[in-house]
């Protein structure tokens, strides 16, 4: 064909692609007409119908050939060839089930996992938040690790301070969540989470209710503040009634007006918040001790996050100007720092290390999948060389061969891709088996059509590449047709190919080692975490929580009377050996409201101060929980009414305040609350941890839950800094937990039937949660390591088998001149070990380099622990030895005669 004809043909191809089917029909119809006209003509000439038809076909010449030529000229031969190649591809794949399943499975798992995790990382870390102008919303956090506080919440003091002085922010708002709120109208009280927020918060988020109105400043100062309710609560409790605005809801026994309903997607501060209450912070009374506010702000126009951070840093140094009562060195002692970051980053921050790790895992998985698929493809290509040579000899052009393999590659890849899509969608819909508590913004992660489309496109491209690679390898006609045709398993590859394959396997081994090592580190951390004595013994204990509403229990006495009454009722139950209660429990997240500053004078008269974890406990609490009293005694009647009420402090606190001196009998004070008396230390308890063991023991002070005072005295409100409205109880019993549950409810109801009981469970479950995160990471890594190691072993196996097959001749010659099979086997083993060594070294280097990422996640283990490195190396070496054993043995068993005859 001249180039012009070729051009026309191509243009026609493009033009007619759309009308291909019609064109096909036209061609068929025209040729059909021709034949039938010829047949009619022959019949007219006197031939019988059969003869007429035969003569017509004869006269026409090769029907198929001319039809194809016409189709090709008209540009639809392409479609035909495509269909034929597709059918052929299915047939060929069915004959090579191991290859097909291998590639489909690899792609499905690798792409499915990558897509799911990619969606996770994107949804949590990268996707903009669903608020107006979301990248101008920042969170301002305050950190004081020097005081033993792990949270990042601000106190009212710092909130007011920044609000007054910082020019970088157009608006500043603070919020907090309270889980102990009950909706008390209706038959049974319902416990919900309430969010209290300053009116600016909703403005900053640009959130508007779907019914009703937003908070106004004056709402917060009403005696019964009005509320906004969540969409979920509106549907569940009010049936989505459209006249909801203006209705009343009773919260903690106080009636409140419902101002409106928030949209279903609204989830600030969290998705759990069912009611929203307006709050205000009084500038004059703003203290620095209690850290409970989550503060967000809208950047002023033109201000960047960096500039805001600069201003905040500058202002922090001036804190003492506003709060002159602060000690001079408080900022350095507490290692005070304030951080400004976008709200999206702040939300993602807690799990950023895990997400990075997952990202690395995904990268590793994809690399391995690519390597394995390539190896499998190359193996297959070498096996198909004979078949391709035959096709070429019969006249197939190079393009035809390439097209065949590309079609096959795309089919297999798309199959894997569809499976991957299923896996990814299922994983995302199941929310990865995690909860919103573990992963922020989890509910926002969905499978979008864009992602699905992208996945399919990637698989098609991958399949095409797979086909190209395979065909390049299988089409050996450039080298030597005769040679290709003669052997079906022999490979005539050059050293370059072998090196590539060895490189791929080396990569896999390196990755397998790194993942194994990381899993080992997590496991080691987990062991150490579990070995840490939590400071109490959870076994056989049941627990539950009770929150008392304010109105019927406005004073300390009434509250204490209630709780002590319940404790008595519990002790009366059959099988119960002891019962206690406290405001905060060990190994659980500690409440943020209770970090007052404590002051004490040691034996030299030196004043020491520290922020402490404050708790309120009943006398039997320590015994029931198994927290030892290392000195002194527990609470007794009279401890509260004494002029200096008795308190128990934890060992670490005693150490900090009094050093080696005996703390019993010494006094401690809360300097910021002048109305409170000084307290006397009557006992020292063992140390316990909060919910993050890694952050060390808690410095705790326990105030007594006692009923010393006359019932109507109002004085006790001033004696301890907290009103123990919400307490968690612990019950030790010989009965199993399940049988205790109804008895517990009964005991509480016997004191006040309208008080709800919730969170009834065992103490063991509580403790398990504190190591949950490390466990999760370890499981993830372990699975990844296992998968990588097995894939790597399979990869190594195929490479060695491939190489052995290619060197059959060489081995045969050596065998025939006197080498023993064992020598051959040994040689193969040695060479494959050499390959793995390179991989192992690579893996060690990779692990070393990524030690920094892991440092955040491990507990008391060095990320470069030599013992673990050695252990992982040994495991990988063993695996590679096992993988290469079979092909190595087969190398020795080669029949020299057969191999040399080139069968």
């Amino acid at each position: 064909m001249t180039s012009r004809e070729r051009l026309y043909s191509t243009l026609a191809r493009i033009r007619e692609f759309a009308g291909m089917r019609r064109v096909r029909q036209d061609v068929d119809e025209e040729l059909q007409f021709h034949i039938e006209s010829e047949v009619a003509y022959n019949i007219q000439r006197g031939l019988s119908p059969d003869e007429a038809r035969r003569a017509a076909m004869n006269a026409f010449g090769g029907m198929e050939r001319y039809r194809d030529e016409v189709r090709e000229a008209r540009g639809i031969a392409f479609l035909d060839a495509l269909l034929r190649d597709t059918r052929l591809a299915f047939r060929r794949l069915r004959r090579a089930p191991t290859y097909a399943t291998g590639v489909v499975a690899t792609l499905a798992v690798a792409l499915g996992a990558s897509t799911a995790i990619g969606a996770l990382v994107y949804g949590v870390m990268l996707r903009p938040l669903p608020y107006a102008d979301a990248n101008r919303i920042v969170r301002i956090s305050v950190y004081t690790p020097g005081l033993g506080i792990s949270g990042s919440e601000q106190s009212a003091g710092t909130f007011v301070f920044f609000k007054e002085r910082a020019k970088s922010f157009a608006q500043l708002g603070g919020s907090m969540e309270n889980e102990g709120v009950a909706i008390t109208d209706g038959e049974t009280p319902e416990r919900v989470t309430a969010a209290m927020m300053t009116p600016d918060v909703l403005g900053i988020l640009g959130a508007k209710p779907i019914i009703g109105r937003l908070f106004r400043d004056e709402d917060a100062r009403l005696p019964n503040v009005p509320v906004l309710i969540s969409h979920e609560l509106w549907m569940r409790r009010f049936g989505g009634a459209s006249d909801i605005a203006g209705k009343t809801i009773e919260i903690n026994r106080r009636p409140r007006e419902i101002l409106g309903v928030m949209p279903a997607e609204f989830g600030y501060p969290s998705r759990n918040a069912a009611v929203f209450l307006p709050d205000y912070v009084e500038a004059e009374k703003a203290g620095l001790a209690e850290r409970y506010l989550t503060v967000i702000a809208k950047l002023a126009p033109g201000v960047t996050v960096a500039q805001a951070q600069e201003e905040v840093d500058r202002l922090s140094a001036q804190l003492r100007e506003r709060f002159p009562e602060l000690p001079v060195s408080i900022l350095t002692d507490s290692r005070f720092s304030a951080r400004v970051e976008t709200l999206r980053d702040a939300i993602a921050a807690p799990i950023r290390p895990e997400l990075l790790l997952l990202g690395i895992m995904v990268g590793a998985l994809l690399l391995i999948a690519m390597a394995n698929t390539a190896t499998l493809a190359l193996l297959r290509a070498s096996r198909l060389q004979g078949e391709v040579a035959v096709s070429r000899a019969l006249g197939a052009g190079r393009g035809t061969i390439v097209q065949r393999f590309v079609v096959e590659g795309i089919i297999i890849a798309v199959a894997g891709g569809l499976l991957a899509l299923l896996i990814a969608t299922a994983t995302i819909n199941a929310q990865f088996g995690l909860t919103g508590a573990q992963i922020p913004r989890l509910h926002e992660i969905t499978m979008t059509p864009g992602v699905a489309l992208g996945l399919i496109v990637i698989t098609v491209v991958a399949g095409a590449i797979l086909g190209l690679v395979t065909s390049a390898r299988a089409d050996g006609i450039r080298r030597n047709v005769a040679l290709s045709m003669r052997s079906t398993t022999r490979t005539t590859h050059g050293r370059a190919w072998r090196r590539t394959q060895e490189g791929l396997v080396t990569l896999q081994i390196a990755l397998a080692l790194s993942l194994l090592l990381a899993a080992g580190l997590m496991g080691s951390s987990l062991i150490r975490l579990n070995r840490v004595n939590p400071g109490f013994s959870p076994a056989g204990n049941s627990r539950f929580t009770v929150h008392l509403p304010f109105r019927p229990y406005p004073t300390y006495q009434r509250t204490a009377a209630f709780h002590l009454g319940v404790l008595d009722a519990l002790r009366a139950l059959p099988g119960v050996t002891s019962a206690g209660a406290a405001m905060q429990f060990p190994s659980t997240p500690q409440s943020l409201y209770s970090h007052p500053r404590l002051e004490a004078r040691d034996s030299q008269g030196q004043v020491r101060q520290t922020l402490v974890n404050a708790n309120v406990a009943s006398a039997e609490f320590f015994r029931t929980m198994g927290i030892p009293l290392v000195a002194g005694r527990s609470f007794e009647a009279g401890d509260l009414i004494a002029p200096t009420p008795g308190v128990i402090i934890s060992k670490s606190l005693a150490q900090h305040l009094f050093g080696a001196d005996d703390p019993i009998g010494r006094e401690v004070k809360i300097p910021t609350r002048a109305t409170l008396p000084a307290y006397r230390v009557i006992g020292i308890s063992g140390d316990v941890y909060g919910d993050r063991v890694a952050e060390g023991v808690l410095r705790t002070i326990y105030f007594p839950l006692l009923n010393d005072l006359p019932p109507n005295s109002t004085e006790t409100e001033q004696r301890i800094p907290f009103m123990p409205a919400g307490l968690t109880y612990v019950v030790k019993s010989t009965q199993p937990h399940a049988s205790l549950v109804p008895a517990i409810r009964q005991a509480v109801a016997s004191i006040d039937a309208r008080v709800p009981v919730w969170d009834i469970g065992t103490l063991d479950a509580l403790v398990a949660n504190s190591t949950a995160r490390t466990r999760l990471t370890m499981i993830l890594l372990g699975l990844a390591a296992l998968a990588t190691l097995s894939l790597g072993a399979i990869g190594l196996y195929s490479v060695i088998a491939y190489a052995v097959a290619g060197r059959a001749r060489e081995f045969a010659v050596r065998l025939s001149i006197g080498a023993t099979p064992r020598e051959i086997t040994a040689q193969v083993l040695r060479e494959s070990v050499a390959v793995s060594i390179v991989g192992i070294l690579g893996g060690l280097a990779l692990s070393f380099a990524s030690a920094r990422v892991l440092r955040d996640l491990v507990y008391e283990v060095s990320p470069t622990d030599p013992l673990l490195y050695a252990g992982a190396t040994v495991v990988v070496l063993l695996c590679t030895a096992v993988a290469t054993f079979s092909p190595a043995r087969r190398a020795g068993k080669i029949n020299p005669a057969r191999a040399l005859l080139g069968e």
Partner: protein
């Protein structure tokens, strides 16, 4: 997978000329065309009838012929080909080079 060797190419060129000439006398469908060429050449040309169709497609793509679906006298639907103006001009060119070719061949073959 069309394989063209030089023989076929020559044949193809001459076939194109035959088709153009025959169609210029009167438009017709493919089948009619094969019989007409046979008739006009006194049965000398008897190439496989099917070979005419690829040639017709190429001529159409070069805009030397145009096609039209019509109903024949017997009521069947058939594709009719006719020469375009460009086709007539090309035919003229092809005729001229054909005559030159034949003349040259004559000269060579009649040399002593």
């Amino acid at each position: 997978m069309a394989r063209t060797d030089s023989n076929e190419q020559v044949l193809q060129g001459t076939l194109d000329l035959l088709i153009l000439k025959t169609l210029s006398l009167s438009p017709m469908h493919g089948w009619g065309l094969t019989h007409r060429i046979q008739e006009l050449s006194n049965d000398a040309f008897r190439v496989g009838q099917g070979s005419i169709y690829p040639a017709l497609v190429r001529l159409e793509q070069r805009d030397l012929v145009r096609t039209e679906w019509k109903i024949t006298e017997s009521g069947r639907r058939a594709k009719f080909y006719s020469v375009t103006a460009a086709g007539r001009r090309a035919m003229g060119d092809e005729l001229a080079s054909w005559k030159r070719f034949v003349g040259a061949m004559d000269l060579v073959l009649s040399a002593t």
